[in-house]
Symmetry: C2
Subunit: 200 residues, 2 copies
DNA sequence: CCTTTTTTGTGACCATCGGAACAAAAAGGG
DNA sequence: CCCTTTTTGTTCCGATGGTCACAAAAAAGG
């Protein structure tokens, strides 16, 4: 059944299903086929798909078109959320170029930086002074912090004053925010540390 | 007690504890104080610390110096693991500049790219043809894939031929590898999608 | 010495996630 | 019409992670 909240792990796989199903041209597709193609478990695929649609036919599989529609609905492809990046250093520009956010219905409207040289050199980078105006005009809901640890809290407060509802923080520090604002703390080093533990 | 394997969630917090404890100058520190300072739960702090040391004194707290030593041991600060980045686009260079890997005892020895302009313009970027030699000389154990989806598998195979033991893959695709090789799949868009679900 | 108080350490519970096993449904063949 | 086969959908189990509650230990004060 289509639940209101889809688990994070499932959500992460939905774009892969969507892409795969769009490329196919079968009328019906089985979970086993999808699983094999994407190197996933069969049960996992069925659970994921049942979370967004639950309309498979035994002995036949899933109707591809129905499934594509259901996936697009779940991913909110129709209802795009706008986001901004603050800090247009290497990380900020990497995120600006990262193609993959659209898969989840998130559009990066631009990056903002205080350094005028960076602003001049990049089409989608704007001066920080325009942050408030653009957030207002584009109804931006998500702010991505890609500045250093020292200015992260300051930028966070600035974003909050722009009526941002969610923060994605790449700076390696804890931010203080009022309740009602969502935050996701990214820690790039963490995955690497885990890998180090495994390779000994 | 000091277990052989520390959970990933715990591991991610250890550098914060270490940094905080190094900055302090108390002889004894309580879990409540650490928790409050780092915005964590008290029990979480105690469980984390007991995973690396387990030497707290009731009514007194943890001996700061002992704890710092235990944390450094757990993070393998003494035993650094070398890593290379393949692909020196914006993401690769952002990772090259990211300070925070050292906290976990991982040293990025350099990035590699096939584009000679990028190689010439960056001191720590080398031509891909030197990958094998440098991996051999520096005993590199971890390879970070920061190239596009199309060449990811090819680069993965190349890294394997350089005796890499672990892969950190930023390309949004599944890689096929032999058993015995560890892989961590990074999905930057996933966190953002989760945030979108919360603010939507 | 004994009680109180503070702090550590751990056991119990809940949520998420993934995999295995199994029940249910639908097509197809005799 | 019934039996087999394929595929879905669900239920159960184990592992991880986080929080609450409580037991255990050690200092402090009478």
């Amino acid at each position: 059944m289509s639940k209101l909240s889809i688990g994070m792990a499932t959500l992460g796989r939905l774009p892969k299903y969507l892409e795969f199903l769009k490329e196919s041209s079968e009328e019906y597709i089985s979970s086993a086929y999808v699983a094999k193609s994407l190197y996933l478990g069969e049960v996992q695929v069925r659970k994921d798909l049942s979370a967004v649609s639950g309309k498979g036919k035994p002995r036949v599989g899933y109707n591809r078109e129905e499934l594509v529609e259901a996936l697009e609905r779940a991913l909110g492809s129709g209802k795009t959320t706008n986001a901004v990046i603050v800090g247009a250093g290497k990380l900020g520009r990497a995120l600006l170029d990262y193609s993959g956010f659209e898969d989840f219905g998130v559009k990066i409207v631009g990056a903002f930086d205080i350094n005028e040289d960076i602003v001049r050199g990049n089409e989608r980078v704007f001066p920080l002074s325009e942050l408030e105006r653009i957030c207002r005009e584009k109804k931006v809901k998500i702010g991505i912090i890609a500045v250093g640890e020292k200015s992260a809290q300051e930028i966070c407060d600035l974003l909050l004053s722009c009526k941002i509802k969610g923060i994605w923080n790449f700076a390696p520090c804890k931010l203080t925010l009022p309740s009602g604002i969502s935050i996701v703390q990214e820690n790039l080093a963490l995955s690497l540390a885990h890998l180090k533990g495994q390779v000994g």
